[in-house]
């Protein structure tokens, strides 16, 4: 397999509401940041791929506005997925694997502030049998969390409300070191447990913040990567899998698609020292830790994860970017990055990143 690495990563400051700027204005500084980091102009990139969602923007073909901002002139080789940017990165990675491109620019963005995200996400469900009931995303996550709390077999994981509060407190405390985080700092778990339920068994601290944000990465192959980056984050493997959509046919306490993707990505061939998990709800981190066989010795979400900032369509790409950035600065040698999409962790992507021995 051809050597391909993440050589630059940038993200916006994630905020509850960015009504004063457009998606393009939110994205452009981030694009320039990653391009400046590698000293390339948009036109010098061989392939560009982005991820975004018309349902968040409220208009058809919303990604064309961002493309105008990229400055696709002279014309560029470009594609777009209506998915989290992590999958745009996957498409770009396969493009580099064919040898057709040496470099790729990947970006994604989402503004949740113009609408009611919980309501909007109901439109993602089976249009005949589920969407007409308007079950919102927090309620579905609560079903999943309750199933986990009730489960007889959760492996080595202790799954109770205190464990959930522990995930929240640890993540948001870690986010104090992340200048881009939307939520940082947390009372201790005992204090969190005194708060009322939002949707039982989830309390507010168990849920991700709703907000706006953008992210971008640059990929490069082989010696180009070595030239553009002091310590490239090599993609040793990457895979993604989906599960059935109907919640009734899934065991919501497990994540078999994450397990399978991790196997295919080679995650279990050697221990990782860092994991960036896209777990918007505290209960999902417990499920993913088990599926991905992450022990207590692995640092999980030092960025604060999706509990600190969860911009739709970008939060998965940010996990890959944060893991890569840790390798770039020598804070990790072998990292796992995970992204999710759909209700209750329906679709999952796992990448294994490594730095050269320093």
């Amino acid at each position: 397999m051809r050597e391909v690495a993440i050589v630059a990563f940038g993200q916006s400051d994630h905020r509850r509401d960015t009504a004063e700027i457009s998606e393009v204005e939110m994205l452009m500084p981030v694009l320039h940041q990653v391009l400046d980091a590698v000293g390339l102009r948009a036109g010098e990139i061989d392939f560009t791929c982005s991820g975004s969602c018309d349902y968040l923007a409220g208009r058809a073909f919303s990604f064309t506005m961002a493309l105008d901002g990229v400055g696709a002139w002279p014309p560029i080789s470009e594609s777009h997925v209506e998915m989290d940017g992590a999958w745009a990165l996957y498409e770009a990675w396969t493009r580099l694997l064919t040898g057709e491109a040496e470099t790729a620019l990947v970006y994604s963005y989402g503004k949740s502030s113009p609408g009611d995200l919980r309501e909007v996400l109901t439109r993602q469900l089976d249009p005949y049998y589920v969407a007409p009931l308007w079950p919102d995303s927090v309620s579905l996550a609560a079903l999943q969390a309750q199933a986990l709390l009730d489960a007889e077999d959760t492996g080595d994981t202790v799954a109770d409300e205190r464990a959930l509060a522990g995930v929240a407190a640890r993540s948001r405390t870690a986010a104090e070191d992340n200048p881009h985080a939307q939520l940082a700092g947390s009372p201790p778990p005992d204090a969190l447990l005194e708060e009322p339920y939002l949707v039982r068994p989830l309390r507010r601290h168990d849920c991700p913040p709703v907000g706006d944000g953008a992210a971008a990465v640059v990929l490069a192959a082989g010696d180009t990567a070595r030239r553009l980056c002091r310590r490239p984050a090599w993609i040793r493997g990457m895979d993604h899998r989906t599960e059935a959509h109907s919640l009734g046919v899934r065991d919501l306490t497990r994540s078999p698609s994450s397990r399978l993707a991790a196997e295919r990505a080679g995650a279990f061939e050697a221990p990782v020292d860092l994991a960036e998990l896209h777990a918007p709800f505290t209960s999902q981190e417990l499920i993913l830790r088990r599926a991905l066989r992450l022990g207590e010795d692995v640092r999980v979400n030092p960025s604060g994860g999706a509990l600190a900032a969860n911009p739709m369509m970008a939060a998965g790409l940010i996990r890959l970017g944060e893991a890569a950035a840790a390798i770039h600065r020598g804070a990790a040698d072998r990292a796992l990055a995970h992204a999710t999409s759909g209700p209750c962790l329906q679709q999952n992507l796992v990448a294994v990143l490594e730095g050269d021995a320093s």
Binding site: R2, T48, C53, D54, Y55, G58, R59, A60, F61, F63, T64, L67, D68, G71, A72, W73, P74, P75, I76, S77, E78, S79, H80, V81, E82, M83, W87, Y90, E91, T94, R95, L97, T98, G99, E100, V120, L121, R123, Q124, L125, D126, P127, Y128, A131, D239, H240, R241, T242, E243, A244, H245, S246, P256, S257, L260, S341, G342, P343, Q346, Q347
Partner: protein
């Protein structure tokens, strides 16, 4: 490193129609997928990954519908990618799927594109609300009509060319059992006298709004060796994008289209497309786009595309048949329209196009475009593998 050659071994599509009220969205896509699998004589378990594409989710009112469609497309436990590049999406989706095989990430991939436009009103779905666009720019025709007028003015093409294209494509569609429009009694005079919608585009010169899906099974060399019917081999594939609006943009012959064509011809070793390509399936949603794209794709000199149309070169029995399937003018499930072009090109070189088969077609071009004439995807397929 060398890429794995990519072969098309299965093609399936639905009977396109204004409203498939008898099936759900899942039922529609599954119908096309099952037909593609049958054509390849494969089963769901032979498929390693699914790549699906469609145009804006507002057309059906389902956000990211691939999540809901995972079960119907046998994707559970498999990778599933969802592509969206506006009108070119059907072509782009096939190219993303082909890339997975070419990169040796997967061996056999199901790719599918669909639109079930009867679930909403596509024209208004495409008409952006204020503040994104000025009012009264209703539908795609409103956007493209001025560029057709610019073409006519630039080339001096006589006003009747568009009607010739529409009449040809609608007659070709009579030979394609899957085409949406089967207007058996249509005459050229009727096309010429049909109501003016967006001057100079008349009603009979516009594409219909269809429910439909198209699927293809793409595989590697070993997969092609096992295929029951002759495969179509991919000899080149490319995508190009440019901004929607900018000073100096040539809407009549966008540079992204010219660059994209040049790239696929280079990959396929084609130096004279007019002579070397035997059949073209191009994305012609409004009749005048045939002569416009003939020039943009290098089949005619600048200003001379309309002469090919006028002299019958692009007829089914002409020197360069364009849209033998009836094209977008006869069938337009928007998200699938690009993939239908790619699939119909592949059917031609496989010799499996039935009554609209171009005799002796060995090399064909599939073309799709979208957005404000800004997204292009193309492939060249042939009846022999690229290595010989």
């Amino acid at each position: 490193m060398t890429k794995e050659p990519v072969a098309v071994v299965g093609i399936g599509q639905t009977k396109h129609t204004a409203a498939r009220r008898d099936v759900s969205i899942a039922g529609l896509v599954r119908e096309a997928a099952v037909r593609a699998l049958e054509d390849a004589q494969l089963t769901w378990s032979d498929i390693d990954a699914v790549v699906i594409g469609k145009a804006p989710d507002f057309f059906e009112g389902v956000m990211m519908p691939e999540l809901y469609l995972a079960d119907a497309l046998g994707a559970v436990g498999k990778p599933m990618l969802r592509v969206h590049t506006a009108g070119s999406v059907g072509g782009s989706t096939a190219l993303v799927a082909a890339g997975l095989v070419a990169a040796r990430v997967h061996r056999t991939v199901l790719t599918l594109a669909f639109e079930k436009q009867s679930e909403s009103n596509a024209m208004w779905g495409l008409s952006l609300p204020i503040p994104f666009q000025q009012p009264l720019l209703a539908g795609a025709g409103g956007f493209f009509a001025p560029h057709v007028r610019a073409y006519m003015r630039r080339t001096g093409a006589p006003p009747g060319i568009g009607a010739l294209v529409a009449y040809k494509d609608r007659r070709n569609a009579l030979r394609n059992p899957y085409a949406h429009l089967h207007e058996h009694d249509l005459t050229l005079d009727q096309v010429r006298s049909s109501p003016m919608l967006w001057d100079p585009i008349r009603y009979s010169e516009t594409c219909p709004s269809s429910d439909g899906a198209c699927a293809m099974v793409l595989t590697d060399r070993a997969g092609a060796d096992r295929a029951p019917y002759p495969p179509a081999w991919m000899h080149g594939g490319a995508m190009r994008s440019e901004p929607t609006l900018f000073a100096g943009k040539d809407f009549v012959s966008p540079r992204a289209g010219r660059d994209c064509a040049a790239d696929v011809y280079r990959q396929a070793g084609i130096t004279d497309p007019r002579r070397e390509i035997d059949a073209v399936e191009m994305y012609v949603p409004f009749s005048w786009y045939e002569p416009m794209w003939l020039e943009n794709l290098g089949f005619a000199d600048e200003g001379a595309g309309w002469k090919l149309t006028e002299s019958g070169v692009t007829e089914l029995d002409g020197e360069l048949p364009v849209n033998p399937s009836g094209g977008v003018l006869s069938t337009n499930p928007i998200g699938a329209s690009g993939m239908l072009r790619f699939a119909e090109a592949a059917l031609q070189v496989r010799g499996r196009a039935g009554e609209h088969q171009v005799d002796g077609a060995r090399k064909a071009l599939g073309h799709a475009y979208g957005g404000g004439s800004q997204f292009f995807s193309m492939w060249v397929v042939a009846d022999t593998s690229p290595a010989g």
